[in-house]
């Protein structure tokens, strides 16, 4: 058996796990591991400029590829800087393995230089974490970490490794375990068929059904099965922010996103529905609005891999616990054996109602405005990229505009921090996407607030040649904060105004990229075309947009689905009259 040092075991484990990229930043406690990286070429290391960037890049890589993201950082500040990215991945159930250096075992607990209780700090925002205490435990722990991160409901796993067990002078026999079993962990795979049969019974009786699909469909690689189910049933489909693309957004059967900034038709359909089929979705508060008035007339079927997601906030009628894919296959088989036709005519009245709601044109904006409307930029981005780009976003108004105005027809194309809502996510995530899909067009939709939170990664992007197009919707405000202040604080814009913004064009140029500033509406489309034609360059497009545009519709916090603030340009009033 080959003998390796602890540092070498860490890297060899990654290689044996099939890891291609590690996003990281060196420091004292991981120097032995970095020396092991230096001596091989299979596992490629990407040197970020801040550990938060490493975690978001690994996250973007994971979300766009389905493979686990891998991060390597040092102890103390290396680990604490990674925490925001770990929590981001945790909230959205993204598979990630984060290796953190720790001070040598003999000094743990002595407040040593760059010592922090990494396992303690990360405990509430990881699926699991480990402090490895012996060099002979490293390989098995790495195997467990990847197994935990990628199975069941995925999530980030932290492996904290004291420096002294990576010592190059201490070698131990190495064999990477081909599999690992843990008596305390056995994720559910297939669902209970009895529950599926109960669900089918409800489906048969439904007259106002809605399919409510979430990020779990994408994580569970079940988009094809979801599509088949939707085609079979001809029910309207609404998707969560995390689920966009699992079902094609351009399909007439799609009624758009639901929730706080969801469409009128999706939210009204949820409110009036008699059957909700929730698939890989978790009834997040941004989706449900006021719990007491959520879907008051509906029976609820809930498919989820995590038993703790069932009836957590909304009590459901038929839970089916297991992986989405096999459960949907069960459902399809059951439906087939029924021999019934679920055509649109079966629920014609319901579709008629939905089309009436859709006709309201709830997201309409002023197309004649002389200013650059942020929605217009996203529409043009969609046109120029033919709807085929990978789009990452930061958090705020621009994120909602992108989700609303760039319909995704494929899974894993829309990459955003839905659960934690992490500003600064978009740029490093876009870089991570580019590592997974070097040939694809990647756009980072951001704002002048968010982009400044992880801007330093522009430098990494030059070093590793990962060309991304940055769509900066610059309105000089922290737009979503300003919108809430307009709606609920009588326009008292407390600290939501960004003064002393940098010249983003020059800033991009200073980092070695291409910078553009676009201040006229007629320049939007040509600028986008020019930028995307520069295949091998990162281009920072600074769009000076309408300063006080709002995201509509909006369900204000604590309100019900049928209580929406509508876009001034929608036909809402006319329909009511």
């Amino acid at each position: 058996m080959v003998e390796l040092s602890g540092g070498e075991i860490v890297i060899q484990s990654l290689k044996d796990e099939g890891v291609e990229y590690v996003f990281g930043y060196p420091g004292g406690c991981v120097l032995h591991i970095y020396d092991a990286i230096f001596k091989q070429e299979d596992v490629k290391h990407v040197l970020v400029r801040h550990e938060q960037g490493a975690t978001h890049a690994a996250d973007g890589y994971a979300r766009s590829s389905g493979k686990p993201g891998v991060v390597l950082v040092t102890s103390g500040p290396g680990a604490t800087n990674a925490v925001t990215g770990i929590a981001t991945a945790y909230m959205d159930s993204i598979p990630m393995v984060v290796i953190t250096g720790q001070v040598p075992r003999p000094v743990i607990g002595t407040d040593a230089f760059q010592e922090v209780d990494t396992v303690g700090i990360t405990r509430p925002c990881v699926k699991h974490n480990f402090l490895v205490k012996d060099v002979t435990d490293i390989a098995e722990t790495m195997k467990k970490a990847f197994y935990l991160a990628t199975s069941g409901r995925p999530g980030p796993v932290v492996v904290d490794i004291p420096k002294d067990i990576t010592d190059p002078n201490i070698k131990v026999p190495y064999q990477y375990p081909s599999k690992v079993t843990m008596r305390s962990y056995s994720p559910v795979v297939s669902g209970d068929i009895g529950q599926t049969i109960k669900a089918i019974k409800l489906i048969k009786e439904a007259r106002r059904p809605v399919i409510y699909s979430g990020g779990g469909v994408i994580l569970g690689e079940a988009s094809n099965e979801l599509r088949e189910l939707c085609r079979t049933l001809n029910f309207p489909v609404t998707q969560t922010l995390m689920g966009l693309g699992a079902f094609p957004g351009t399909d007439p059967q799609s009624i758009g996103m639901l929730g706080m900034h969801g469409t009128y038709e999706a939210n009204m359909a949820m409110h009036e529905s008699d059957l909700i089929i929730a698939i890989g979705a978790r009834f997040d508060d941004r989706v449900t609005g006021k719990i007491a008035e959520f879907c008051p007339h509906a029976k609820i079927i809930h498919i989820d891999v995590d038993p703790a997601s069932i009836s957590k906030t909304i009590t459901v009628d038929v839970p089916i616990v297991g992986q989405v894919k096999p459960i949907l296959l069960d459902m399809l088989a059951q439906l087939k054996s029924l021999g019934e036709t679920f055509d649109r005519a079966r629920i014609a009245d319901w579709w008629k109602q939905i089309e009436d709601w859709r006709a309201v044109d709830c997201m309409a904006y002023d197309k004649n405005s002389g200013t650059i409307k942020p929605q217009y930029v996203i529409e043009q981005l969609y046109q120029v990229t033919k709807g085929e780009a990978f789009v990452t976003s930061d958090v705020g108004q621009h994120q909602m505009f992108a989700a609303q105005f760039y319909p995704f027809d494929k899974p894993r194309r829309w990459i955003n921090s839905g659960g934690l809502g992490t500003m600064g996510f978009g740029l490093p995530a876009a870089m991570g996407v580019k590592f997974a899909h070097p040939e694809a067009d990647v756009a980072c939709v951001t704002g002048e607030g968010s982009i400044q939170m992880c801007l330093q990664e522009l430098s990494t992007m030059l070093q590793y040649d990962t060309p991304v197009k940055i769509i900066n919707l610059n309105n000089g405000y922290l737009g979503m904060v300003r919108q809430w202040q307009e709606f609920t604080y009588k326009s008292r814009y407390s600290h939501s105004y960004m003064e002393a913004l940098p010249d983003f064009k020059k800033l991009a140029e200073a980092y070695g990229h291409v910078g553009m500033q676009i201040s006229k509406k007629e320049d939007v489309e040509p600028a986008l075309r020019e930028a995307f034609a520069m295949k091998d360059r990162t281009v920072f497009l600074d769009f000076l947009t309408d300063r006080e545009e709002n995201v509509y519709p909006m369900i204000e916090a604590g309100k019900a689905h049928n209580d929406m603030v509508m876009a001034p340009n929608s036909k809402y009033k006319r329909i009511l009259a």
Binding site: K127, S184, A308, S311, K312
Partner: protein, 164 residues
């Protein structure tokens, strides 16, 4: 309606496992009335018993969230079946004839005895159901100098058992 539940958990005997359980309760704002943990005959496992109060929905979530912890091997809600529960308390009192008489007058199926007498002070050892202990200590509160309780432990009666 909120009700008290006794949940017994078999936990991997790993460092940090207890903090995962305690952290879960604080992070999700669940109640812990008492918590006791000790190794089992199988040294790779600890058995943890916790008492919590909550609505049926909350208790259901607590059990699901506990099961989700990777270090939790298995758990049982003792309140769902006919179970035996006990709690041990040590109580320090100043010795007096009245107190001694009171301890000795207790029912013979109640576990109460004077475990120590030093310099005119007694340590009384009491074991019984948590509610009985509450009442007893309430009655004695004017005499009690110090009290320590282990928290509730329990086993289900009959064949049902929490084992691997």
């Amino acid at each position: 309606m909120s009700r008290q539940h006794i949940i017994s958990v078999l936990l991997e005997n790993e460092s940090g496992a207890l903090s995962r359980v305690a952290g879960l309760f604080s992070a999700r704002a669940y109640n812990i009335e008492s918590l006791t943990v000790a190794p089992t005959l199988d040294e790779s496992l600890s058995r943890l018993t916790l008492v919590t109060i909550g609505s049926e929905e909350t208790i259901e979530q607590i059990k699901k969230q506990l099961n989700k912890l990777v270090d939790v091997v298995k758990l049982i809600d003792l309140s769902e079946s006919f179970s035996l529960e006990r709690e041990l308390a040590l109580v320090k009192v100043k010795k007096s004839a009245a107190i001694v008489q009171r301890i000795e007058a207790l029912d013979s199926d109640t576990l109460a005895r004077i475990a120590d007498e030093t310099d005119g002070y007694l340590i009384v050892e009491l074991s019984g159901e948590n509610a009985w202990l509450d009442d007893f200590l309430q009655d004695m509160q004017d005499d009690v100098i110090e009290v320590v309780r282990t928290g509730v432990i329990g086993l289900s009666r009959g064949e049902r058992a929490l084992t691997l």
